[in-house]
Each structure stands twice: as structure tokens, then as C-alpha cells.
Symmetry: C2
Subunit: 424 residues, 2 copies
């Protein structure tokens, strides 16, 4: 029953019956939220033990004698640096542990480049118009950081293998005003794509026109598989860069917000030893130390990367059915020819693509029926989706039951929006 | 036995015997540290219960229903905002709870003003040469922040009633390039002075030439008395400003680093509702939320300001004897006419003033005998003490026994440095 080939009269009949359905949904006074990538209650329950895993003074003494309860070690305790190094296939010498939010660390790296310049280069603030590449759809919070500095954002189309690398190379290797690119290389936000080996190798082989170009590699979902037996693999960017003598090009960011409790985790910056030394100099003027007690809490609770993996397998068990509820529901839109969607093997999001000009209307209809979605356009620089067709679906936070209800609403709204368009 | 009036021959004899003492101290291979204001082990032991005070999901649900274990509330949970408001004599509407370090929040406010401008004014970075007033001696970390931006620092002499307010008014009210002043208004770092009521009132009545001038009011030691029966009182800066319609002029900072565990506490910015709204807008691009679990940990552990006060009374019991060890030891230098010092009723530091040109040498001699002091000059902008006479003493971290030993070394070194100068 493809809407696109349906006679107008049938569409109108369908619309009438959908409007009745919509009215009934509105009358149910739902209040459901699929707008942000938040872990749900079942996931949070798995880390309650972390709250009480540190008890004695001995628990808080690092192997090098550092008392986690006092000032010191701006770059973190060695145990935490080793844990993050193991998780990312790097060395503790490459790891700087930050506070509770990788987004803030990203902001900090942009603001350091803006104010002080990257490793001795002219500060970005004094170089006139500068630009960032933004694979789209992407993470709204990344774009908001660059927008806050007035950095011009250039959209780069995403594909299942990653950003359009021809375009990336064209810009990065020839335009010295291009200073950075935002990447979520694994289970990308919002498509859920993982960059192919070739894409990562091409990142590793970039020859930037700007000496102060950096890849902002937000590896937010590095171990966030939906199925540990059927998962994506991402090539190590540091290795790919090293092959080309390009180690300084990347700032990799990771966070435990979606491993433990969002806002109560730790984050880290992983980069070359040379970059790390430069960053340490700057950070020493901005900070005394981050929360080492919380770092040790992670170390004691998980023990090692195996501990984290065992824990994330439990997340997968909880989250995979949530994603499947959406995939199943979306089939109805697929059959009607009015949507396509991505089918990620990990991460926190699904991209749902409506016909052109229908995303904003769909989101609005959902809102008026009590289902909050991410604002249409949010995944694009300046909040503008040129086709108005992308909707970011965040299926993790609601319970399965609520998620089913929310999908029911979404399906009706997407159909109504598409028919409105077709009849217009 | 005043050295200043002693015949040269006697001074030389004294020097010889002091050198023998110094050699013996060196041979003891001490390793003592009086360099930074760190709580000691006994203080830290008092908050171990905080590590396990949150156990259940219910413990983590804020009174407004917010789950502290998930994203949200960039300005903090209401319970924490109320606790800080009560502690500072303000309202929750004035409080923004930050991360684990007030220094970072101060850096953040300077960098926001630098990049975006204060409440819509031209960014500091685009105003040519700008300046900050720096009461001296002061906190080295404050000066390092302004130095990192290339902001020119103007020294303002401190007195037991606070900074020289004639000079402050002269600069602030007439020079639009003066954008800020660093203040530690209570138990100042390093003198331990508390600003008098008149000083605070004069701050409240400032009429800055610059529309984007701000007072950086680092109330780091607001409840850090050495004796709760004999403590300093500081007038409320917000009240003093309000009387003059000047509410927007101040950013007050507090931190629990020296109440709980340094680096694992929370910090806060207290300011007008108008400023707070402007800051929220900026912070929303830089951060998702701070660690609400740790905020709730504070709320549960202390309950209220009375709980904090009861706890800080125990700190006072531990710290007062430490300060008295120093005061007692310094008497010998006073009798020799080669030192004066401050006698704070709270905070973490004592200022020791040697004869001109002797501070650096004293610190060096101490270092060579295994006693680490804060670098001479550290309490002045650009690390330059024009008189080379100030030494910051931090008596809190070593045990009483170690502190006595460290003072013994310091006394011998201060004497040797003074005699060298007198004989030169």
C-alpha cells in the first residue's frame, strides 16, 4: 500500500481515518520522551554498586602513593589512565582524564585553540574567518560549540562508510581556513554508522593545509554495541595517523557517561604525547585537578576493560529490544513508501528519513500528541535540515511499553504529515 | 637579641653556629612540605562516611523528581543550590552549582568574558589592553589565570582591613580598561585578613567606568575558622551591592574542596539572577550537566549548614594547633627583629615577612634542607615580589610533629638569610 502511487481519493479517505486515530491518541494524554540519548532506569540499576565500592582510606591510595582524596595529578591517576588506554588501544602516556563530561573537554580544546592557538600557532580568534567540517546529520551539541565561537560550519554528507572523504580531503588538504572536523566514528550520532577501514585510513593520511587543523574524534559509543556477537569494528585512528607521521592530528574523546551514570562518569582526551604535553601546560592554568575519587570508583568497580565489557553486554541485552521495537514499527512506514531508516548495531540513535518537507511537521504532530522527539533539523549545523526530512530517534530512555506507544504515535504522525504533503 | 643592632663580629659568630645547625638539619635528610594549602589526613578521615552515604535509587531522586543519575539540570539540583544559598546568605535563584573546582569556574567566567563579552558587552579579547586589579600578596592561581590571557595585572596593597580601597576606587571608577579584581575577602590567601565592613561597603558602592567590570569574590574560606568562638565576620557583598543597585557587579565563588575532599567536592557561582540567566545561556553550549550524584552526596552527608558547621568545628580543632606551632616558632624570628607575620583566625595560610631581599634565599635554604615552601614571589603578579620579603606558610598538611621540624628548619634558614644580608 504505497502512498506515493495511491489515488488522491484513497489518500483522503486514509487521512480521515488517520485523523480519528490521531484524535484518540491525543485524548490519551500521553507524555513520552524520545528526544535525547539517555540511559534508562534498568541500565542505571546495574551500577548502583559503584556508589559504595570505595570505603576505606586504602581504597583511595593510588599505586604510586597518590591520595585520591587530596589535590594533585591534573591528568588523572595512573590506574584510570591505563583503563582508558586499554579501552582505546592506546597507552597511558596518551591519556588525559578530565571531568564528568567529554563535551566540556571538547569545548575546552576548541576554546584553548581559540584563545592560545594550537601548539604555538596563531590563536584561531586572530585568524579571521575559520571553518569546521560537519558530517551531517551529526551531533547537535558539537555544532553548538562551533556556532558559539562564530566558526563557520560546512556540511559534509554522511554515508554508511563515514563522511564523504573526497570532500573532506578537498577541504582539509587545500583550505587553510579549515581547522577541524567533528566525527563520531563509531555508531555515529544519529545514523549509527561506523567509519570503514578505508575512511579511517584516509583520515590517517590527511595532509592539512592548516598547521593547526585537528580531528575531533568523539568516540562516544566505542563499546556501546547492541549485540556483542554482531558488532562493528573501528580501526584505531592513532595507528592510522602514526603510519603517516601524523600523530598530532587527532583529539580523541571518550566518556563513561553512557557506561555508568550520565553526569557522574569520567571523560578522557586521548592524543599524541606531544599534544598532551602542550595541553597539560594550558590546563595547569585552568584547573588544579579533576575528581580522582570518581576515577578510582571506576577502577575499583570495573577492574579492567573485561569488567566494562561484561557490564556493557548487560546494556546490550536491555537496549537491543528497544531498537527492534523501532525497526519493527518503522516497517509500516517503509511499506507505505514514506520513510527509510538506519539500522545501527550500537550507539543510542536511529535516523528516520521522511519524504522531503515532512520532518518538522511529523515532530510537531508528535508533540501535540504528547510524544517529544528531538527537534527536526537539530542534527544539522544552525539547526537547518535542507531537505526537512531527518528525524533523530532516541529509543533508550523510555520503557519498552512506553516506546511502543511512542512509536504508535510516531507512525500515525509520519503518515499524516506525508499525506498532507502528497495532497498539497 | 636583635640582629639589626648586633655588632658584625657577633653576627659572624652566630652565623658559624647556625651553619653547623643547618648542616645537621641537612644530614637528617628531611622531606617536608609546607607549600600548598592542603587538608591533612586527620581532616580527610572525617568525611569517609560521605563515600557510602548514597545507596539506593531513592537516595538519588531530588525533591523535584530529578534523577541525579541521569542527564539534566546544568545549574544543579535544588537541594544543593539551597545548601549553598544558606551557606552564603543568598537565595537558590542566585546559585549555579559547578564541577569539582571553583578555580575552573573562575577561569570559565574570565574566558566567557574574553570570548563572548560580559552580558552582551564587547568581548574582552576585542577591547585592546585590559587590566585586573590584584590585591597583593594574593593567590598565585588567580594571577596565573589573568596572566594566561595576557591581561595586565595591577598590584593593590593589602592591609588587615582589605585592599587599599582608595586605589581600588581610583582605578575602577575612572579607568574603563580595568575589568576585574581578584578578592579573597575572608581569611585571605595568604595573609589571612578579612575585609572590614567598610571595605565591603565601599565595594558595594563602586561605580565602575567599565560596564563589564566584575568583582571576582573568591570566598574560599567562608566557614574555615580556626576557632568558632573567636572568628571573623564578613559582610554580605550581595547585600552591599543591592543597596546601591549594583547586584550584577559580583561573581562570588565557593567550593567544598577544603570542607570535604579536595578535588572531589563541588563548587558554586553566586551572582545576581540577571547574571545567572546570561551565564546559563553560555554554559548550555559548553556542558550538559555537572555531577549531580556528588551534589546529592553533599546534601545527604551534611543535611544542612548546621551539619557543615559541626564538621568544620572538627577541622578547627585539628588546624588551630598547627597554626599555633607556627606562631610560636616565629617568635624567635620576631625577637631577632628579622620577621613579622600575620595571625589569621581562619583559612589555610600565614604570611611571613622577612627583611627585604631575604625571602627567596630563605626558601632556597629550606629547600636544600628538605623543606618545600611555596616559591618566593608566588603571591605576586608575574611571580615577582618587589621587596623579596614575602613567604607564604601553609601549615595544614604536615602532621604536628613534621610541622615542628619544618619550622625548626625554617627558623634556621630565615636567620642565615638575614645574617647574609646584614653582613653583605
Amino acid at each position: 500500500m504505497n502512498y506515493l502511487t495511491m489515488p488522491k481519493e484513497s489518500l483522503k479517505e486514509l487521512q480521515t481515518s488517520l485523523k480519528v486515530q490521531y484524535k484518540a491518541l491525543q485524548d490519551a494524554h500521553l507524555s513520552l520522551n524520545m528526544s535525547r540519548g539517555k540511559p534508562g532506569d534498568e541500565q542505571l540499576a546495574l551500577v548502583m554498586g559503584m556508589l559504595t565500592c570505595l570505603k576505606t582510606r586504602e581504597d583511595l591510595i593510588s599505586e604510586d602513593g597518590t591520595d585520591c582524596r587530596n589535590y594533585g595529578l591534573i591528568d588523572g591517576i595512573i590506574e584510570a589512565r591505563r583503563l582508558i588506554a586499554d579501552l582505546t588501544g592506546t597507552k597511558p602516556e596518551n591519556v588525559f582524564i578530565g571531568g564528568n563530561a567529554s563535551l566540556n573537554l571538547m569545548y575546552n580544546m576548541v576554546s584553548n585553540a581559540w584563545i592560545y592557538g594550537v601548539n604555538g600557532a596563531t590563536p584561531w580568534s586572530k585568524q579571521g574567518k575559520i571553518r569546521f567540517l560537519c558530517p551531517v546529520p551529526g551531533y547537535d551539541r558539537h555544532f553548538r560549540i562551533t556556532e558559539s565561537f562564530g566558526i563557520e560550519m560546512i556540511s559534509i554528507p554522511m554515508s554508511p562508510t563515514g563522511p564523504d572523504m573526497d570532500l573532506v580531503e578537498e577541504y582539509v588538504n587545500h583550505d587553510p581556513s579549515v581547522k577541524g572536523i567533528w566525527c563520531v566514528p563509531k555508531y555515529s550520532n544519529p545514523d549509527g554508522y561506523t567509519y570503514s577501514d578505508e575512511t579511517v585510513r584516509r583520515f590517517g593520511a590527511l595532509h592539512p593545509a592548516a598547521e593547526d587543523f585537528r580531528i575531533f574524534w568523539d568516540n562516544a559509543y566505542l563499546i556501546h554495541h547492541l549485540d556483542f556477537e554482531d558488532k562493528d569494528e573501528l580501526l584505531n585512528i592513532h595507528d592510522a595517523l602514526k603510519e603517516n607521521g601524523n600523530e598530532d592530528l587527532v583529539y580523541e574523546f571518550v566518556s563513561t557517561s553512557k557506561i555508568v551514570m550520565p553526569g557522574a562518569g569520567i571523560c578522557a582526551l586521548i592524543t599524541s604525547e606531544h599534544n598532551r604535553a602542550e595541553i597539560l601546560k594550558l590546563m595547569n592554568a585552568q584547573m588544579i585537578c579533576f575528581d580522582k575519587v570518581n576515577q578510582m570508583r571506576h577502577v575499583k568497580f570495573f577492574g579492567s576493560v573485561s569488567g566494562i565489557e561484561a557490564h556493557m553486554r548487560k546494556h546490550a541485552e536491555i537496549l537491543k529490544p528497544r531498537f527492534e521495537i523501532c525497526f519493527e514499527a518503522f516497517k509500516e512506514l517503509g511499506e507505505a513508501g514514506i520513510a527509510t531508516w538506519t539500522q545501527p548495531k550500537g550507539g543510542y540513535f536511529i535516523s528516520l528519513y521522511t519524504p522531503e518537507g515532512c520532518a518538522r511537521r511529523t515532530v510537531q504532530l508528535c508533540k501535540e500528541a504528547g510524544v517529544q522527539l528531538t527537534g527536526a533539523g537539530a542534527a544539522f549545523p544552525y539547526g537547518r535540515d535542507p531537505k526537512d526530512s531527518h528525524i533523530r530517534i532516541a529509543p533508550t530512555y523510555p520503557s519498552s511499553e512506553d516506546l511502543k506507544k511512542a512509536c504508535d504515535v510516531l507512525i500515525v504522525c509520519a503518515k499524516l504529515a506525508a499525506i498532507e504533503k502528497l495532497l498539497a
